[in-house]
Symmetry: C2
Subunit: 255 residues, 2 copies
C-alpha cells in the first residue's frame, strides 16, 4: 500500500532551539536544526494517522497543512508525546469526526489522569475533546486495511511501544530492545529510531548506540529522531553511514 | 515602577487559526489575527514574570526572545493555561534557576495531577522540571518589590484569579465578577479582559458583555484577550469605543 510519511518533529522533549541556549545547534541557521517534538504523520489512502500527539501538534498541523486526523497511535505517556491530544478538538467540531486513539492500558491510565474531563465526562464545557480509546497489547491490529504491528521497547525501565506498518517502522524513546522485537523489525525499507545525543542517558540510545542498533536491524534506510542540541544535522550527515541519516522537520518519505 | 507588558498570546484555547478552519479570521493575512494561547510576559527591573504558562510557551518565548523567567502566576488550571509549565526546564538547566510558581491551592492540586513527577519526586529522569510552588489566596503578596493583588473571578462556576500589578490588571477566562473585585480594579491605566466571541458561552464573557464590564471598571484603556475566530482584529478596532481595543500577539505596553 502506498504510504507517505511526514516528520512533524524530530527533537527531544525541550525542542531545538532550547529556550535561552546559544550553542551552535540552537543558534544554527540551518532550518534542519530546528526541531519540534518528535512525531510523524502517516497518510495512506484517505486516512491520516499520527504517531503521538506532542505539545507542538497545532503548530505542526498548521505548518504541514494536515487536512484531518483519523487516528493517533501512542508510543507512551510522557509529556512530549501526549500534551497535544487536546489540540485535536477542531477535528471534532469542524469535521464532526471522533478521533480514535490507540495505546496501551498503561497509556490510557495516564491519559485519564491528565485529561479526566475527556475520559470521565465531568466536563464543564461543550467544547470538550471527543476521542475513542482502543487498547492494544502486543497483538497486531488494523486501522482500515493497514496492519499495525506493536513493537515492545524499553525506555529506561518503562515499557513503551514502537510500530511497524508494512516496510516502515518507528521506534522512538528507546534505550533497550527486547530480543523478540528484532524479529519484528526484519526486512524494513525504513526504520525511524530515537538517538538522543552523544553523551549517555539512562532512558535513550546515544547516537553511537542507535547506529549500532540500526546496523543490527539493517533496514534499507534508517532515520534518527528525538535529537538534542548535541547533534547538528550537517555534521551527522557527514559522519553517518550512507544508509543512515538524521530526519528533519518536514521531511517526507514515500513507501 | 516601570513595567513592560508583552502579550504572548491573545487567543482562545484552540488558537487562531483553528486547525482545518477556513473562516475569514482563520484565513486572514493580518498577523494580528494569528493568536497563540492567552498569556502575558511582565518585565520590571531585572525580573521576568509570566501570567500562565500555556501550551505555546516555548514558541512564545522564542518569538519574543524572553531571556529568563523568575515567576509564573497561575490564573487557573485549564489546559491552555498550564500545559507549558514543563517548557520552563531550560531555565533550570541553562540558568541554574528554580522558577517560582504562584497559584491557588486548587491550581496546585491540578498541577500535581498533571505533573506528578514534579511535585512528588518520582521522576525517572535528571531532566525533571524544578519549581517552587507558593500558594496564595486573596491576600496580596510580593514578587521582589512588586505587589500582586489577586482578583477573585468566576469562570462559569470555577473560581479563578485575575491579578492587579500597580495600575495594570489582567482578568482572563471570566464570565462573572464578584462585587468585591470591582473595588480592586479602580483607577487602572490598563485592564486586560477576556472576551471570547459574539455568541454566548457558559464560562466566558462575550465581547458585548466584556465591553459592558470594561465600561463599569472604567480603566483608561482596556485590551481584550482570549478571543475566538468569531472576532476579527480590524473589525473590532472599527467597532469598539476609543479606549478599548483587541490585544494582539507581540503587542507591548509600557506602564
Amino acid at each position: 500500500m502506498a504510504m507517505e510519511v511526514t516528520f512533524l518533529g524530530t527533537g527531544t522533549s525541550m525542542g531545538i532551539p532550547m529556550i535561552g541556549c546559544s550553542c551552535a545547534t540552537c543558534s544554527s541557521l540551518d532550518p534542519r536544526d530546528k526541531r519540534l517534538r518528535t512525531s510523524v504523520w502517516i497518510h495512506y489512502n484517505d486516512k491520516h494517522v499520527i504517531i503521538d500527539s506532542g505539545i507542538d501538534f497545532r503548530q505542526q498541523a498548521l505548518e504541514q497543512r494536515i487536512p484531518s486526523i483519523d487516528a493517533v497511535l501512542f508510543t507512551h505517556h510522557h509529556v512530549d508525546h501526549i500534551f497535544g491530544l487536546d489540540e485535536l478538538r477542531p477535528i471534532n467540531f469542524l469535521q464532526n469526526k471522533t478521533v480514535i486513539a490507540y495505546g496501551t492500558a498503561q497509556t490510557k491510565e495516564h491519559l485519564k489522569r491528565v485529561y479526566p474531563y475527556v475520559f470521565e465526562g465531568h466536563n464543564c464545557s461543550s467544547d470538550v475533546l471527543k476521542i475513542e480509546y482502543r487498547i492494544f497489547d502486543t497483538t497486531p491490529f488494523k486501522i482500515d486495511d493497514l496492519e499495525i504491528i506493536p513493537i515492545p521497547l524499553f525506555h529506561g525501565e518503562l515499557p513503551v511501544m514502537g510500530f511497524r506498518l508494512g516496510s516502515f517502522a518507528y521506534c522512538t524513546d528507546v534505550s533497550r530492545m527486547p530480543k523478540e522485537s528484532y524479529e519484528l523489525l526484519r526486512d524494513l525499507d525504513v526504520l525511524v529510531l530515537g538517538a538522543l545525543r552523544n553523551s549517555p542517558h539512562p532512558t535513550h540510545f546515544t547516537l553511537s548506540e542507535a547506529v549500532e542498533e540500526a546496523r543490527n536491524i539493517n533496514a534499507a534506510k534508517t532515520y534518527f529522531v528525538h535529537m538534542s542540541h548535541e547533534l547538528r544535522h550537517k555534521k551527522m550527515l557527514q559522519q553517518l553511514p550512507v544508509n543512515m541519516a538524521p530526519a528533519f522537520d518536514g521531511l517526507k518519505i514515500s513507501l
